[in-house]
């Protein structure tokens, strides 16, 4: 992407005023997206993201600069501008960059950019037809097709030179159900680090039907009652519970500054002994997988919590310096426009041995949250919230009726201790995770779990 000699010159320039580490990140990315609304292809855009980020460390302080202009003279100018924030002497370095080989966890069969756009439009039509014809209450359907092919080069003054290619594919259906002037939305959006062969694995009609099924369920649902109750959270995207309630607080960005509720708790019991949680950047073709992270460190399978005991944080290079710990291959960023920080890849609670039926049968009164929407957390306090996209009231061990508009709130540290059943049906769901280094693809996941007691926010005071 950029000549090795130029990279070395830029790294030298970056350390010309002091500092003890410099890094260059070159990104060249093809993006393609299509959107069909009401069966009509409204949008079809393709383009190229292109830029270079340069980072300097001076002990625990960091400087970041980025530009779109990758000419040698501009890169050296930008590196020197960044360096000018420091005011000491150059340390003696001799670079001999050697390209490193990596393991490929994300083999690609068919690059999406090589496929005729007509085939992609056909995919959208099929999903649209299936979603629209699902039921008469479905009043509007939007289907989106997304592809990206990102090539990165990362080099640093430790002698690292590595490249990675990330190809991702996603298909999104959003259905609106209308009844008596009321509208409710359902959506479903599978994705993977795969090429066009992704569509050999999923059936787009099923995706469309699933989105419409959720919308239809909601429009016929009553408002959710409020209160503190047991909550059964189903598998797949239900894993956003762990992601928000706990995953973010395990990120070194917060741990290193002692502002995370989990700081200083390695080796301690932080969750119910039923909980084992893993972040795995190496999962084959996983939505959040990469071969190396955005600092060039190979990704790993990190056991975060094992049988309730805190085993590891998610660590990037800079925060690793603060904590005196090695990177766990968790430095990620949206693009060259962001300095990387510690982030999740594919994070999930491992399977236990209960079944969903057992959980429902053992619940006298509570909420069964079948599909969760997004959520957020304050990593310092651990307070989280997320939306329930599809929920049901459980009474006397049986599913009573669908409810809508529920929000789950609680505290991450406490909720982990309150998990009293873990299912045997682990599945992963795809999300976009937003934080200080931008919006990145991440898998969340879990089997069905039951939380003994959680605050459910709804619109009805009681039943």
């Amino acid at each position: 992407m950029i000549d090795k000699q130029v990279i070395e010159d830029v790294l030298y320039a970056a350390l010309s005023k002091g500092g003890d580490f410099a890094e260059i990140y070159v990104e060249d990315k093809h993006n393609g997206s299509m959107r069909m609304v009401g069966g009509i292809l409204e949008s079809n855009i393709s383009g190229r993201d292109y830029g270079v980020g340069i980072r300097i460390f001076d002990k625990l302080n960091s400087i970041y600069a980025y530009t779109n202009d990758s000419s040698k003279e501009n890169l050296i100018k930008v590196a020197k501008q960044a360096a000018s924030a420091l005011n000491s002497k150059q340390i003696d370095i001799r670079l001999n960059l050697m390209k490193k080989n990596t393991t490929n966890y994300n083999p690609i069969k068919v690059y999406p950019s090589s496929i005729n756009k007509g085939q992609k439009v056909d995919l959208l039509k099929r999903g649209y037809e299936a979603a629209k014809s699902y039921d008469d209450v479905i009043s509007q359907v939007t289907v989106s097709y997304l592809e990206e092919e990102q090539n990165v080069l990362i080099a640093n003054t430790e002698g690292l030179l590595v490249t990675d290619s990330r190809v991702r594919t996603r298909y999104v259906v959003q259905s609106v159900a209308s009844k008596d002037g009321e509208m409710q939305v359902g959506s479903y959006s599978p994705g993977a680090s795969m090429g066009f062969e992704f569509y050999d694995n999923i059936n787009v009609e099923d995706v469309g039907k699933e989105a419409s099924r959720i919308a239809k369920t909601s429009v016929y649902a009553d408002y959710c009652p409020s209160g503190v109750m047991p909550v059964i959270i189903d598998n797949e995207f239900g894993g956003v519970l762990f992601h928000e309630a706990c995953g973010h607080a395990l990120e070194a960005e917060f741990v290193s500054r002692d502002t995370s509720a989990f700081a200083g708790k390695l080796g301690q019991m932080v969750a119910s002994p039923l909980v084992t949680a893993i972040d795995d950047g190496t999962m084959k073709n996983g939505w959040g997988s990469t071969n190396v992270d955005d600092e060039g460190t190979p990704t790993k399978r990190n056991i975060l919590i094992e049988n309730g005991v805190l085993k590891s944080y998610l660590i990037d290079k800079l925060n690793g310096r603060r904590m005196n710990m090695e990177s766990t291959g968790s430095g990620r960023r949206q693009s060259y426009k962001f300095a990387p920080t510690s982030r999740m890849n594919n994070t999930y609670i491992a399977a236990g041995d209960s079944t969903l039926e057992e959980m429902i049968n053992n619940t006298e009164y509570g909420l069964y949250a079948k599909k969760l929407g997004g959520g957020s957390v304050n990593p310092a306090t651990g307070d989280f919230n997320f939306a329930v996209m599809e929920g049901y009231i459980v009474q006397n061990g049986k599913i009573l009726k669908p409810v809508r508009g529920a929000t789950l709130i609680g505290n991450g540290v406490k909720v982990l201790e309150l998990i009293d059943m873990v299912g045997n049906n682990l599945e992963l769901g795809q999300g976009m995770c937003g934080a200080s280094s931008g919006s990145i693809p991440a898998n969340v996941g879990q089997p069905s779990i039951r939380v003994k007691s959680l605050t459910v926010g709804g619109r009805k005071e009681d039943e």
């Binding site: 383009g47 190229r48 292109y50 960091s62 600069a65 957020s376 005071e461």
Partner: protein
């Protein structure tokens, strides 16, 4: 680089293959700094941008973009734009605009902002952090103490004759503090969105963040019930932001807004006025022309409770046979869509104290979470994690957290009982509200 020649060449070449074409070019500059424990621990500088080409072929609009703005990109941009247009089957075609007769000429670029030396900005942050840490011994850390400044240049050029350029700038500064009292941890935040560096007052910001955090120590939930609620101005602005898409004519036409078929109808309290004001002094959304090159205009969207207008670009306006309201909006990576300029609820006549005094038992809410997930702009339903304070006998009492508020936007607008005189803009900088008193909302707590 001389963009004029580059864009001319691009448009001339593209015009050989397409009916009409338009180039949209953005150049961004950004500088950002963060202080931690008295040191500049984060510093970043950036110059970037992107170029979009859109063009009409057989009556259909294609788009493509690149961030590599040099001669090597010209042919691929043209080829992709042409290719992308072929699959569009939109029945309401997009058009390329020939320009308005006349534009306002308001300057939205403050030269003085960038002229303040970086060292002064760093000193400000150091003072801000130091002040926050000194205010109370329960302040554990300032986990963010940041100043960010941006400049954006915009060029729109097309084969219908538009040749427009403008430049805006601004800055934000914020501090987030963590306070601890035993096992109890709380955070507090204060944010300023400015165009003049002299508006930043480190003492005021530190005090606000620390008071927000300290006052939340010992917070507890409350009994689930319906309560009258006063929303802090910035917090209501953020709630309004999450719902601002309901004013978009595009969402209305697609059946994705609850305001469909409601023009002329009473949709809010008779004291409610919402405007879209592109000429607001120092407004973050202030612009003389929109992203299609159409002149912007001041308009009332809700006039004494009645819905008077939607926000239009040309595609949606043509569909209804009306004029664009100058609300076309886009990034170089995307298609033309619609967004407000500066959208805000006009201030009322009550002081914040009067709003609180009028409630014997209720809640004051100054924080909402989950705005990107806990609400549904289509139905208007929301259920959001919230925190704030109880109101007892007209006075703010104890801190309240771990509650959710639930309701429906369209009902909420009708339930507004009083509006404060303290208009402020929220976290996005271009959506504002005064403090708002609402008759009743469902609160879930204990």
């Amino acid at each position: 680089m001389d963009y004029r020649d580059y864009l001319n060449n691009l448009l001339n070449k593209a015009k050989e293959n397409m009916e009409d074409v338009e180039a949209f070019l953005i150049k961004d500059k950004e500088i950002s700094m963060g202080v931690y424990k008295g040191q500049l621990d984060k510093y970043s500088i950036a110059e970037s941008g992107g170029l979009s080409l859109r063009g009409i072929y057989n009556g259909k609009m294609g788009y493509s973009y690149t961030e590599r703005i040099d001669d090597s990109s010209v042919d691929k941009l043209i080829q992709d734009t042409l290719e992308n247009s072929k699959y569009i089957d939109d029945l309401d075609p997009e058009t390329i605009f020939e320009g308005s007769d006349k534009y306002e000429n308001i300057n939205n670029f403050n030269e003085t902002l960038g002229n303040v030396p970086v060292s002064e900005k760093i000193d400000f942050l150091k003072k801000l952090e130091k002040e926050a840490l000194s205010l109370d011994n329960r302040v554990f850390a300032a986990d963010a103490c940041v100043y960010q400044e941006f400049e954006q240049e915009r060029y729109i050029r097309n084969t219908k004759g538009i040749d427009l350029h403008d430049k805006v700038n601004g800055a934000i500064s914020y501090i987030s503090v963590v306070v601890k009292d035993g096992e109890d941890t709380k955070t507090g935040f204060s944010l300023r969105i400015i165009k003049n560096f002299s508006e930043l007052d480190h003492k005021q910001m530190a005090k606000e963040a620390v008071e927000n955090a300290i006052s939340m120590l010992g917070a507890k939930s409350i009994k689930s019930d319906k309560y009258p609620v006063v929303f802090e101005n910035k917090t209501f602005a953020d709630l309004l932001s999450a719902f601002s898409s309901v004013f978009s004519a595009d969402n209305v036409q697609k059946g994705l807004s609850g305001l469909k078929d409601k023009i002329g109808e009473e949709i809010g309290s008779p004291i409610l006025n919402i405007v879209d004001d592109p000429f607001l002094k120092d407004g973050f959304g202030s612009r003389n022309f929109d992203d299609e090159g159409t002149k912007t205009s001041f308009k009332k969207l809700i006039d004494n409770g009645k819905l008077t207008s939607y926000l239009y670009n040309w595609k949606t306006a043509n569909k209804e046979g009306v004029q664009s309201t100058g609300n076309a909006s886009r990034s170089y990576k995307g298609q033309i869509s619609i967004s407000p300029t500066n959208l805000y609820i006009e201030k009322g006549d009550k002081s914040f104290e009067e709003l609180v005094n009028s409630i014997s038992k209720g809640l004051y809410i100054n924080n909402l979470e989950g705005l990107h997930s806990g609400l549904n702009p289509v139905s208007g339903d929301f259920s959001l994690s919230a925190s704030g304070y109880g109101i007892e006998d007209g006075k703010i009492s104890r801190a309240v957290n771990l509650i959710t508020i639930a309701g429906n936007l369209y009902e909420l607008l009708k339930d507004i009982e009083a509006i404060g005189n303290d208009l402020e803009f929220g976290i996005y900088g271009y959506i504002g509200s005064p403090s708002i008193k609402v008759k009743s909302l469902s609160i879930s707590g204990e």
